[in-house]
Structure formats: structure tokens, C-alpha cells
């Protein structure tokens, strides 16, 4: 009995230790990426690879527009219906506009966008870098005198940092449009009234807190994806495993980061 206890403690300890090494290496990678994205270009040591960055912006950003828009429109619509169900009883259905507007910009817009992008592009980052690792392409890069973080991670990181806020803004807008759709066609609220109500309800702060979150989300998606790519071992199977892990991990971390930032905004602003 005691032996079993000891054994399971050992397993737990090892698991915890392994987990902590992953965390510390991921932090290391993030620091490296930040160095090559911000510090190195400012000091004139190695510029940014803009061509590759723009290519990634198209892959990550432009190509996600349809799916992000569709999902956020639906969620806006769903939220409006759920809210109307409650608010109609008090004859306060106009407040659907407040509810949809505020929760979309402060919370759901950034969160949904980040989760969709994590699933679409975080996994792609992990798979691309992982395949390159398996194929010795990363070693080839290093042999040719390129830093893999600078060459592979920075363009994707930068692209995410630039693209995620834009996608989020669009998601906010489309989500509000979803609520508006229900209000106009089902609750008989006029376009102008809904628009004014939303405009009154929203303050700049709502929009900005949402956008601040995207910076953290972008960092998480890029770094988790890249890290999972770099640690791929074995062949195609390893790539598959890492890809899955990258999605699960980044969604988890996105929610945690969301919780923390929301807590900070809630208690200070």
C-alpha cells in the first residue's frame, strides 16, 4: 500500500517536473521570439522578414475571415435570442443591444476569434515547423547560419500580432450585426434605435480591453504552436501528436489568460 503510494507520488512528481520543463522552455522561446521581433531590429541586428510575414498574414488572417465572420454572426444572433427571451418579459428588449454589444466587444469577439485562429493557424504552425524538424530542415537552417526562431517563429508571431486585433474588430462588428438582425426582424426595433442603443452602451474602454487581450492571445497561439513544432520527435506520427497538443494547450492558455486579464480589468478599470 505504502509502496503504491510512493510509486504514484513518483509518477506525479515526474509528470510535474516534465510539465515544468515544458513551461520554462516555452517561456524561453517566447523571450527569444520577443528579442528577435522587438529588440534585435531596433538594435540593427537582423531585420524582420516582411515578405514572409505578409505571406503569413494572408494565411492566418485573410483566410480566416469567412469562418470567423460566420461563427461570430451566429453567436451574436444566439446571444440576442437568449437575451430577448429574458428581457422581453420586462418589456426591456431594447437592452438586447447593450448585452450583445458589450459582451461581444469585451469578451466573445476576442475569445472566439482566438479560439478559431488557434484551431486553424496554431495547429498549422505546429505542423509546419514539426514537419521541418522531422525533415532536418531546421538543422539545415541552422547550418546555413539562420536562427530558426528568427526565420520561422518571428514572421508568424508578428503576423498574428497584427492580424488578430483586426480579425477581432471584425468579429465584434459581425457579432453586433447578428444581434441587430434579430432585433430588427423579430423584436421590431428600428435600425436607428438599435444602432443608437449600441453606441450608447459601448464605451471606448470596452473595445480597448478586448483588443489588449488579443496581444496575449496572439502570443499564446504563436509560441505554443512553434514550441510544439520544435519538440516534435519521430516521424509523421509525432507531428500529428504535437499538432493536437498545440491546439488543446493554446485554447487552455487562452482561457486562462482571458480570465486573468478580465479579472485585472474588472478590478482596476
Amino acid at each position: 500500500m505504502i509502496k503504491l503510494f510512493k510509486q504514484s507520488l513518483g509518477v506525479l512528481g515526474r509528470q510535474f517536473f516534465m510539465y515544468m520543463t515544458h513551461v520554462s522552455r516555452m517561456v524561453q522561446l517566447t523571450r527569444d521570439a520577443l528579442y528577435w521581433t522587438v529588440v534585435a531590429p531596433l538594435r540593427g541586428k537582423g531585420g524582420l522578414r516582411w515578405k514572409s510575414t505578409i505571406h503569413q498574414m494572408v494565411l492566418i488572417g485573410v483566410n480566416s475571415i469567412p469562418i470567423v465572420a460566420t461563427i461570430c454572426f451566429f453567436v451574436g444572433l444566439i446571444m440576442a435570442m437568449q437575451a430577448a427571451y429574458q428581457l422581453e418579459r420586462f418589456g426591456a428588449s431594447i437592452y438586447v443591444a447593450d448585452l450583445v454589444g458589450v459582451s461581444m466587444t469585451r469578451e466573445l469577439g476576442p475569445l472566439l476569434t482566438a479560439i478559431i485562429v488557434a484551431g486553424r493557424s496554431g495547429s498549422a504552425i505546429a505542423a509546419e515547423i514539426g514537419t521541418m524538424k522531422v525533415n532536418e530542415e531546421i538543422d539545415a537552417l541552422r547550418t546555413m547560419g539562420f536562427n530558426p526562431v528568427w526565420f520561422l517563429v518571428v514572421p508568424r508571431f508578428l503576423a498574428l500580432l497584427l492580424v488578430l486585433p483586426c480579425l477581432t474588430l471584425m468579429a465584434d462588428l459581425v457579432g453586433i450585426l447578428g444581434g441587430f438582425f434579430l432585433a430588427v426582424f423579430n423584436l421590431n426595433i428600428s435600425f436607428i434605435r438599435y444602432f443608437n442603443q449600441t453606441a450608447d452602451a459601448l464605451v471606448m474602454k470596452d473595445l480597448i480591453t478586448g483588443l489588449v487581450k488579443t496581444v496575449f492571445f496572439a502570443t499564446i497561439i504563436a509560441q505554443v504552436g512553434a514550441y510544439q513544432g520544435f519538440i516534435v520527435k519521430g516521424g509523421a506520427e509525432g507531428v500529428g501528436k504535437s499538432t493536437t497538443t498545440s491546439v488543446v494547450t493554446s485554447i487552455f492558455l487562452i482561457i486562462v489568460a482571458d480570465l486573468i486579464t478580465t479579472m485585472i480589468f474588472y478590478s482596476t478599470l
Binding site: E136, E137, D139, R142
Partner: protein, 267 residues
């Protein structure tokens, strides 16, 4: 003639997990020399090359490139040293997301200030040298195995390196192309005084290009010398290699059975 070795390996030991792969390698390679490394599959040849260019750190031992101990350098210090090194990986390791031309042009684009048109001409020249003229716009996936190897060689020599490492450059090539590669290597050696380290199994190309041969076995260098010296060696394993003698068959049934069962038990 410069008498200092350009590559010097001292007591190199490496483990993969708990398995010793390289076991006290000592080797000196002179500037302009062509060293071939022979050895049976899995004896650690690729691992040795990886260590010489600093892709992996050894468990113990020192490696000097041009007098600089690279085992104590950081990755970033290593990066600038590697710009003067060309490496042909065993699997080619072409960047699959780029066409062949971009693969070759990449180091030129990022490390030099050359005009784009100049880079294009140089890329074509390098591809022409390996017999791949006109394949710039092909993606690596559209090439055959041997063509990939040759494209990777073109990329390895793109920056006119001082040291060139080739991991089985002619494996999987037809004899005509293979001998073409050998001649290219001879030409590089003559024209640029390149120091070349080649892992190969092709005895024909060893005879043609090698200044010296190192024979690796179970992580050690068991023979080192010119082709003539090794041919005349009395060492059984060396003889086996040069005269293509297979391993003796397992005669003792019991020990054979034991080795099978024993192995299974360990796993």
C-alpha cells in the same frame, strides 16, 4: 603549406540516451584535405558530422574549427561560423515550401548584399554544376530522390564555403551522375582549396577523391590513413570493408537462438 589542422576533434564522446554512439573520436583534418569517413550503417557517421558543425553538443570532448573550440560557443556565435560551412544532409533536407531555385538562393539573399539578378545567375550556375539546370522553379516534391540530393549539394556550395560536409552524396544516384558528383568535388577542392569531409559507402568514389580515409566502427576510428595504407592494412575489419566480405554466418545454433531470445527479453 599551413600545417595547422582546420578541423580537430579530441576525445569526442556522445550518448543517445544511455547508448554510447561515439566513443573517444580523435581526428585531425588539414586545410584543403578531402577526408572520407567509412563505416557500417548505424556506426555514428552522421552523428559525427552533426557534432563537427555544432548541431549537437557532445557529452564530452572538444571540437576545434580553425582553432576555435566550438563546444563552448553559444548557438548564436555558432551561426556566424556556420556561414562558411556547407552541409549536405543524408536526406537532402531541402526546404519543401520553396522551389529549388529559392532553396539555393536563400543563403545568398539573406547573407550577402548581392543584386537579385546576380543571385539568379549564381543560382543557375550552382544548379548547372550539379546537372540540374532549368529546374529552378520545381518544388522539391517534384524531384526524384537523386535530384533532391543534387539540389541539396548545390545549396550546400552556394556560399562557396571553406568546409564542405557531405553525408552520402552519391547514395541513390546512377553511376554516371555519381561520378559527376565526384568530379565536382575534385573541382571544388582544386579551385577553392575547400576542405571536404565525405561520408560514403561507394568504394569507387573513395579511391577517386579521398586524400585520407577514416574507418569508423562502433563509435571508434579503427583505421586512419591513405587509401593505399588502408588497402594494405592487416586489420580484419578494414579488409572486410575493402574487399566486400560479408559477416561470417552464425554457425552455433544455440548462441544464435540465445541472442534472439535474449534480445526480446531485454526489450
Amino acid at each position: 603549406m599551413n600545417k595547422k589542422p582546420i578541423i580537430e576533434i579530441k576525445d569526442l564522446v556522445t550518448y543517445y540516451g544511455s547508448r554510447k554512439v561515439l566513443d573517444g573520436i580523435n581526428l585531425q583534418i588539414m586545410p584543403g584535405e578531402t577526408m572520407t569517413i567509412l563505416g557500417r550503417s548505424g556506426c555514428g557517421k552522421s552523428t559525427l558530422l552533426r557534432h563537427i558543425i555544432g548541431l549537437s553538443k557532445p557529452s564530452s570532448g572538444k571540437i576545434f574549427l580553425k582553432g576555435q573550440d566550438i563546444t563552448i560557443l553559444t548557438e548564436n556565435q555558432m551561426l556566424s561560423i556556420r556561414r562558411k560551412i556547407g552541409m549536405l544532409f543524408q536526406g537532402g533536407a531541402l526546404f519543401n515550401s520553396m522551389p529549388v531555385g529559392d532553396n539555393v538562393a536563400l543563403p545568398l539573399r539573406e547573407h550577402t548584399e548581392l543584386e537579385d539578378s546576380t543571385i539568379q545567375i549564381m543560382t543557375r550556375m550552382k544548379l548547372d554544376q550539379v546537372g540540374l539546370a532549368g529546374f529552378e522553379d520545381f518544388m522539391p516534391a517534384q524531384l526524384s530522390g537523386g535530384m533532391k540530393k543534387r539540389a541539396a549539394l548545390a545549396r550546400a556550395i552556394a556560399m562557396d564555403p571553406d568546409m564542405l560536409f557531405c553525408d552520402e552524396p552519391s547514395a541513390g544516384l546512377d553511376p554516371i551522375v555519381a561520378v559527376g558528383i565526384d568530379h565536382l568535388i575534385l573541382k571544388l577542392k582544386k579551385a577553392f582549396q575547400m576542405t571536404i569531409v565525405i561520408v560514403t559507402h561507394e568504394l569507387a568514389s573513395v579511391f577517386l577523391i579521398a586524400d585520407r580515409v577514416a574507418l569508423l566502427d562502433e563509435g571508434r576510428i579503427i583505421a586512419l590513413g591513405t587509401v593505399e595504407e588502408l588497402k594494405n592494412s592487416t586489420n580484419k575489419k578494414v579488409q572486410q570493408f575493402f574487399n566486400r566480405i560479408p559477416d561470417p554466418e552464425k554457425i552455433d545454433k544455440d548462441s544464435y537462438l540465445n541472442s534472439l531470445v535474449g534480445e526480446n527479453n531485454k526489450l
